[in-house]
Symmetry: C2
Subunit: 345 residues, 2 copies
DNA sequence: GTGAAAGCGCTAACAG
DNA sequence: CTGTTAGCGCTTTCAC
């Protein structure tokens, strides 16, 4: 069972290699008789084509890579990346692609990984998590001219294909919701300013305040790092500024903020309304249900794969982009009381 | 830069293909002069060997698969699998292997994945998360005779190589700790009884009670499913039995239990001592620090890869197994007061 | 509708 | 130390 080849199948079925090849690749121009004989032998022998030989001959590996750069690999505590990975893995299955996973944690990793992340490295294309500006991994990948899709808007987005959610308007809606609920001193725990997510979510916050005529107080903006602890410390700082609402750029940071608020003996949503971002199932369920922006992570992963396959099959020019919709999920932490299915406002 | 071949390098360096091959594979029997000339050309051209051709010629892909079967893919809410994956990815990098990730969620996935998870599928070996008895994916993999390492003891462990932690003695120690603290009615929220983890952790619990002469009350054993909600409901049931301590087979379930205890207006550890299992960083930090069994997940992943590579290089017979040590991490939830570095008992 | 033949780009004897 | 020679197992023209 180990080393049956096309040749063997051909001989047993009394046809040529070419015919067998046509059959296993579902190509036309094979008589039903021949096709059936081949299929029979294939089933009987349990024949599986050798992937390496196929790749070499066809110049297609049906394999794509997912690269999670340095800055994010530690984020495995955040449920975002596992979910993204799951969506991508799902889509790969469906499309009959194999997924190669690359977690870049150190510079040495980067060097070791790069040779394998290029067309010569057996991949037809790569999905890269957008990371900070000037990430050398990115630069190399871009230079390698392998079909590339960024997960999240990269810097210099013009030149590249990417998929993203509309972070600005998502944040805008969240903050706007707080404003409509009558909150006046709305703070934000932003994401890192070296990431486009951080920048965009903050931009939505700023825009909402401006549009609604609220003063923008820089002291109400604190940068977090997408960790629980980051959210906690950010909130501790914010407490001095007496905000009556907080928009956190991730649920994890929102939970950190919640902890700080409780510790200060204040109440959510009475004293401080809170909205997060992500709406991913957390392992550790919370006491208080969090109003948050739901982003479609799984769909995101699926779309990334589909976009990449499009680039692989139809060329990478012009760059394409896909923006997915988000949804504000209203629960308890924002203080919008609602009953049943009624929308609160 | 796209399609340089060995041939091109050879020509430019004025040597034969074989010599270039020797150089890029770090083999001996090349004069320094020739070697340097080749290296120079390789660098100048940015040449990278074609992986498919290499695989085909050498019958080694330097690629391994990680298969997470049906039963676990939904567990992505539990930090265990992401961490395991991270450990495995890390080790792959270090060993210059590429990691292919297969998440099996449906039966269709299974069928689509299998052809790619076999030697013919481009993999040198596979790490499979041990799942329930009779999982068809397992059976197929075993039959395919590809080098295989189980992550976690599989059923019928005799025939296979696997890596595991000593779940029985880990649980034994945890429960024993509760006994030494004077607890009398010690309950357990066990893992699923169709998994070896579930079975082993329960066995350790039972053994500790027996060894210490405590009565085994079946009513104090409730089966959970490794989710927070599962732990919560299990604890709700247990509360009727008035336990004074609970050993949960995972931290997530312990947190669920904690929620149920709080809701019943009881206190941890005063009314009920609690010990969990895993000690993985949770995204959502808890209020109360949890005494738990620390398992070395990253090391586990690394060891799995090393074991697999051993099987690939040296044959799979006889089956090998590696058992990793765990450590009881004493914090607040078990009620063992301790100061500084002193061990509480 | 089918087969022969020429690669895909590399490794690995083997001979020198 | 080096080059020549066969493949690895498949895809893909190109004739027939």
């Amino acid at each position: 069972m180990a080393n049956i080849t096309l040749e063997d199948i051909a001989r047993q079925a009394g046809v040529s290699r070419s015919t067998v090849s046509r059959v296993i690749n579902d190509q036309p121009n094979v008589s039903d008789a021949a096709r059936n004989r081949v299929i029979e032998v294939v089933h009987r022998t349990g024949y599986l084509p050798n992937a390496a030989a196929r790749t070499l001959a066809s110049q297609r590996s049906l394999m794509i890579g997912l690269v999670l750069p340095q800055t994010v690999s530690s984020f495995f505590a955040d449920p975002y990346y596992p979910h993204l990975t799951q969506g991508i893995a799902q889509a790969c299955n469906q499309k009959n692609y194999t997924l190669a996973l690359f977690l870049v944690e150190t510079k040495e990793d980067e060097e070791k990984i790069f040779p394998r992340v290029s067309r010569r490295g057996l991949l037809d294309g790569v999905i890269v998590q957008a990371s900070h500006h000037g990430d050398p991994m990115m630069t190399k990948l871009i230079d390698s001219s392998i079909p590339l899709v960024f997960a999240g808007r990269p810097f210099q987005a013009n030149h590249f294909s990417f998929i993203d959610i509309d972070n600005v308007s998502a944040s805008y809606n969240a903050v706007n919701h707080l404003i409509r609920l009558g909150r006046k001193r709305i703070a934000t725990i932003a994401g890192p300013s070296h990431s486009t997510v951080g920048i965009d979510r903050k931009a939505g916050y700023v825009k909402a305040l401006k549009d609604r005529g609220l003063e923008l107080d820089e002291a109400l903006i604190v940068e977090g790092d997408f960790t629980e602890a980051g959210g906690y410390y950010a909130m501790q700082h914010l407490l001095f500024r007496k905000p009556d609402a907080v928009f956190a750029a991730s649920d994890i940071m929102a939970y950190g903020a919640m902890r700080a608020v409780k510790q200060a003996n204040l109440h959510i949503p009475q004293d401080i309304a809170l909205i997060g971002f992500d709406d991913l199932p957390l392992a550790n369920a919370s006491q208080l249900s969090l109003t948050t922006v739901r982003q479609p992570v799984i769909k995101f992963g699926v779309a990334a794969v589909e976009l990449l396959i499009d680039l692989i099959e139809n060329g990478t020019e012009p760059p394409r982009r896909i923006i997915l919709e988000t949804e504000l999920i209203i629960r308890e932490s924002c203080g919008a009381s609602y009953r049943g299915l009624d929308h609160p406002l």
